[in-house]
Symmetry: C2
């Protein structure tokens, strides 16, 4: 087959990806430096770079500073701040949001709106989500960015584009990928859509944006408590794709009844509703209940402090089981609870220190996510960006 | 480099492995059938087969029945029942054992002795282990089998040949690989030795001997309770190599103090000592306490039944957390507790059914290991057998 048109096209596609990845990892780079790093000829690199610039994937930064070498200074190439981009969507219990990341991984546009999504059917939630998506895409267009894929973060378990179970939205068996593609495409043209659990996306965002460990448990909480397991730099999904249900790990097996039907699950101690009830703030009107709770704790309000201590302890008990089972290098506290870390971490760390079997389990192995509650939508936007970098021809062309 | 002697030797080594694996998977096969399956020429296959027979890795079974085809019937080749073999060793709290597996994976020799290893220093345990190993190797020699590697199963956490912690033996930081190699080699000549957690080896034995799922949690219990996670047909070891500490997953966080320093760990409800105490049989002299407990349960003795119900329930609570986190396709009950399955499974299955978040969690997804308490030493012996099949030249020659 070698030399046939099909394999030549395949090889060019691979080389385009190679040049793009090389510049993404090591750039800005001159054409000569790309040739050196990739082993491709300078002529081949020039042709591939022209192609990538034509697709708006690369930008030319202008002449490099003179280096004392003989010859014309090369012009530095970098990932484009315009052109193909990733659209990240986020359905929370109390908000919908959209953001757009450029190829460099920078979030250039964010649109977020309060929403009453608790027990709200998809027919009510989706139009609002599509509206923020459209606003984000319009703003992005003004910056020269054109999303080539959308990923939506949902607080629930997902399989093959279907939300199997999102208890806090009241969703069960919702074919979100199909529904959203239909509504988005009415407004935005043909855009591939995929659906992913929010904890998984939050974990990927931490993995991709930071330089932390490649093996960690990422805990995130908004209405529910989810976790994502990252193993060897990849998501660990489990046999059915439902790994990471930390919120329903039993903490006190005879404890309060949980919405899931069992008793004493972690969510009954550390879920948002449980914490706010214990703090006495549940039912108060507030756009940002977690922010409000942090302010009360900051002010030394006793019920708030006690509720957070109890939640941190329960999280530590559940995570001690997780660490004993999975032996990760770190536990990352993400999502909205990153903002409560100051009050959650003491109990959480204490239980881990007491219960993790193979010691020492360093207190420093529990860290706070850098992205906090933005994590899931940032991760959602970056999924598409990474797909483009891996296969610029296929993804940008919608293959 | 192609065509150099080094790469020719490397290619021959790979082809020897290819022929051996092909016969292991699809055999008995004639030389002609091996050539067809591997794509090697018949002349090459003949030469490789001669080499493998010279190393006693293959046996010739005699002429195949005539198939109606023209020509001389081929002679069928199969893995040898003599020659290179695997030595599996097993240190339990109340026994030491050794077994030898031939290349076909059959256990041909087993030597097992009662031993008082609870809180016994390695200086007392190892000579007894080495003695059973020597007897097993002598018996194997009578069958024409020659172990080319030894693997020892220990009830504790292992890293780089060192037993980091084996609470029921009272070992901490014991450099078992070095100690055992020295003593074994005095008696048996130069034999590579490796050390592995018993739960891991029990899980590998189930994986290799059965045709069950490739993703499961394998629970085994003797004095302690351990688990091994098998993911995609491979052991999941965790970042530090200590994954699977199910025995110290918190079940009732305020429960009885555990030897590990924490409270309410699974071992306090379902560990051998806890179960026998609850059944009222702890301290009675018995060579086989688990067998005795099974007899009492069989006879309907109430304390025994209640102790097993409590243990099964606690195992179900801890495993519900594990299933929620890891989402395996099955839970396998192995080790000595496989013999107690009849009384453990009802509580265990009930808790899983109630607490696993993403349902249905099939009751049938909890299965009993076929090998039971033989699992760890069978797995230990098979590790070497599989190494030989993967690289017959390197392993059998001690490379």
């Amino acid at each position: 087959m070698s030399g046939s048109p099909a394999s030549q096209a395949g090889m060019r596609r691979q080389n385009l990806a190679l040049v793009l990845r090389t510049i993404a990892t090591h750039g800005p780079l001159s054409r000569a430096a790309v040739a050196t790093r990739t082993g491709l000829t300078r002529a081949a690199v020039s042709s591939l770079v022209d192609d990538l610039r034509g697709r708006a994937l690369l930008a030319e930064l202008g002449p490099e500073p003179a280096t004392g070498r003989v010859g014309r200074p090369g012009s530095a190439l970098a990932l484009s701040a315009e052109g193909p981009a990733g659209l990240g969507l986020d359905i929370g219990v109390e908000h919908v949001a959209a953001c757009v990341a450029d190829l460099r991984g920078e979030i250039r546009v964010t649109v977020r709106e309060e929403a009453a999504n608790r027990d709200s059917p998809p027919e009510r939630t989706l139009p609002q989500l599509v509206a923020v998506a459209r606003r984000a895409v319009e703003e992005a267009a003004g910056l020269g960015l054109r999303p080539v894929g959308a990923v939506v973060a949902v607080p629930g378990s997902v399989a093959d584009g279907v939300v199997v179970r999102a208890p806090n939205l009241g969703w069960q068996g919702v074919p979100l990928q199909v529904l959203l593609r239909e509504q988005l495409n009415d407004q935005l043209g043909d855009l591939p859509v995929s659906v992913e659990n929010e904890a998984n996306l939050g974990a990927l965002a931490e993995l991709w944006c930071g330089d932390g460990p490649q093996d960690f448990v990422h805990v995130s909480a908004e209405a529910g408590i989810g976790a994502a397991l990252v193993v060897g730099g990849r998501l660990f999904r489990g046999a059915r794709g439902f790994a990471g249900e930390l919120g329903h790990v039993p903490v006190h097996p005879d404890g309060p009844a949980c919405a899931c039907g069992a008793r004493g699950c972690l969510e009954q101690y550390a879920g948002e509703r449980a914490v706010l009830r214990a703090a006495g703030t549940w039912g108060r009107e507030s756009g940002d209940r977690i922010g409000e709770l942090a302010r009360l704790a900051e002010a030394g309000e006793e019920a708030a402090l006690a509720a957070l201590e109890r939640a941190g302890t329960a999280m530590g008990i559940a995570l001690a089981g997780a660490v004993n089972l999975i032996d990760p290098a770190a536990v990352v506290l993400g999502g909205a609870y990153a903002e409560l870390a100051e009050w959650l971490l003491p109990g959480l760390r204490r239980e881990l220190a007491a219960r993790v079997q193979v010691r020492p389990w360093e207190a420093g192995a529990v860290v706070v996510a850098a992205l906090g509650r933005r994590g899931p939508r940032v991760g959602a936007a970056l999924v598409t960006v990474r797909r483009v970098l891996e296969d610029p021809v296929g993804v940008a062309a919608g293959v």
